[in-house]
């Protein structure tokens, strides 16, 4: 299947709206109840600008466009990210996390594609995009 793909080709794109509800839901599902992910007063007391999304929530959703593209979550054999910038989540409304998934490398022998993810949020005022994950790569089996 690698022959049907080209390095640099965008295979999937998606936008996820993260709200405080999303954070509480993730806290419950994952067991990560660090209060910096739901309490403004505690987030501010430890020097943060406000409540942040769990890094693992951002990582978890960022791979979903790849899963939907390949059609089988079991095909993702390796997934890594670097947490570079926090995702601030307002008390009301939401923040949009945008994911663009592009073919980074093709290994035709192993029939594996490395899909590189660009994960950004937009500044609510200026609209400027900020990258929140670095070196976000999913290795997908095409066999």
């Amino acid at each position: 299947m690698t022959a049907e793909l080209a390095v640099g080709e965008v295979v999937a794109e998606a936008v996820f709206a993260l709200s405080r509800d999303s954070l509480v839901r993730y806290a419950g599902a994952s067991g990560d109840f660090n209060p910096i992910h739901y309490r403004d007063d505690i987030a501010i007391s430890v020097g943060l600008p406000g409540v942040l999304a769990h890094g693992m929530l951002t990582m978890g959703l960022a791979v979903q466009p790849v899963v939907d593209w390949i059609g089988d979550p079991g095909k993702v054999v390796d997934y890594q990210v670097r947490f570079t910038r926090p995702v601030l989540v307002p008390a009301d409304g939401s923040v949009d996390v945008r994911v663009v998934a592009k073919v980074g490398q093709l290994d035709s022998e192993a029939d594996v594609a490395r899909i590189d993810l660009t994960v950004t949020i937009s500044d609510p005022v200026t609209g400027a995009a900020t990258t929140v994950l670095g070196k976000a790569q999913a290795r997908v089996s095409l066999a």
């Binding site: 599902a29 994952s30 067991g31 978890g60 959703l61 979903q64 979550p73 390796d78 890594q80």
Partner: protein, 148 residues
Amino acid sequence: MSVNPDLQGRVFPPVAPYLVGREKVREFARAVFATSPLHSDPTAARAAGYADVVAPTTFPVVIQEHTLQQLLAEPGSGIDFARVVHGDQRFTYTRPIVAGDELTAILTVASVKTLGGHSMVTAESAMVDSAGEHVVTAISTLVVRGDE
């Protein structure tokens, strides 16, 4: 206090086996916006060749958390939880996790490095099934901020 360099290479005792439940997989999938029917519908999962619903890619973090608690609870580790920032995360699979798997995780501290006052601890949690076969390894790099 900085992170104790003697932690490098340390292998912790296995944590109690974790039984992957179908409802937990569904709950986690909803939380990470995962909409593939293979996470929620056992019939669809079986049609795709799996024994039961498939866990989302980052699901092993739930089990890894139990192993990291061992590290944070270790007396003399020098790791102050309030100063820990998650730097990197990786999951390397031998096979997907499905509901019904009973996974046992073993934590190894792969490396401890000090960089400009900060310490970087790389923790690898290898998870095996009830037959002892490797399923996935979750690798975290934790950055422990030095004293300001």
